[in-house]
Point group: C3
Chain length 137, copies 3
Amino acid sequence: MPLVRIAVRQGKSAAYRRAVADAVHEGMVEAIRVPKEDRFQIVTEHDADGLIVDRTFLGVDRSDDAVIVQISLRRGRSVELKQALYKRIVEKLADGPGVRPADVLIVLSENDLADWSFGNGEAHYVLNPPQPIAAAA
Amino acid sequence: MPLVRIAVRQGKSAAYRRAVADAVHEGMVEAIRVPKEDRFQIVTEHDADGLIVDRTFLGVDRSDDAVIVQISLRRGRSVELKQALYKRIVEKLADGPGVRPADVLIVLSENDLADWSFGNGEAHYVLNPPQPIAAAA
Amino acid sequence: MPLVRIAVRQGKSAAYRRAVADAVHEGMVEAIRVPKEDRFQIVTEHDADGLIVDRTFLGVDRSDDAVIVQISLRRGRSVELKQALYKRIVEKLADGPGVRPADVLIVLSENDLADWSFGNGEAHYVLNPPQPIAAAA
């Protein structure tokens, strides 16, 4: 169910972009039990004037290689699950494409079950609600 | 009032992109009575690594030509209206640009009347609230 | 905390894009007291088929040079603060890059404190909540 928008710096390889997308998805699968097949991502590239991040806000040491991840997902994950999600995404991004943890900004936007159509014009989660949200592992 | 972001696969014609945007808007006008003139859309093109959709999630048979539609709109449409909206957008996309119904992902994000400024720095809907949301046709 | 997506028309100079981003940020700093360092923006360029705005909706006289600003920010600003924000952003955009006030569409999406990670996988505002939202100046 999540729709994920990932903004990366221009000039990286296609393999890097793919690894970033993979890492973000794996983080979601592992931390908040998103089904492996529930993957919908938009990855965009931006030059320095198109991806502007402060270098020090809240004491985080950001670089030119910032990655911004905006996730739309259904309402209801606990604060603990969200914390686990941030931690896992950042670990995966460090392990795979080698993104520095300080360079990962993550923002969530919650909506409701009726706000999703996965194809064929159906509101899938109205008739067949997904699994209840699991507690943190 | 809606702001609509539409992501399509790169390499299609300008006519295709325009027909996709037209179809989404017509679906909104017909299904949830958005005024014809209330049209604000951002259409982006993405290569295969930039627009990632699972091919089978929830049993929907998606292809390379997936279209992702993310709609920001004011809170309050009923579940029935949202279902009608998905159905109509998908019909319009099939009729016009010929998008396969299985290839259309739609996600809604609701906000409030004070969250919109349509120009000149005014919060138009604070002073002049729009029509109440109509029931499904 | 805000994440700001700004869509401008293609074919403008890098200086114009930067001035637009600066103006939007200054408007947020001045009107709703976002910290100066709390700046995270994604600026994208679009051709005429990629940035579609109605020319007259609600009596606003829009042109080819429309700018769409979508701001994700934490829940809780009053209607008065939002009105002040729209007004200030539009003034700054007129003063700096010379954007016509009628050409500025602004949309807000609110979320919660736990929905933000500013790096290192931390949910910064869970452990260290930001300043309470100030009243309008």
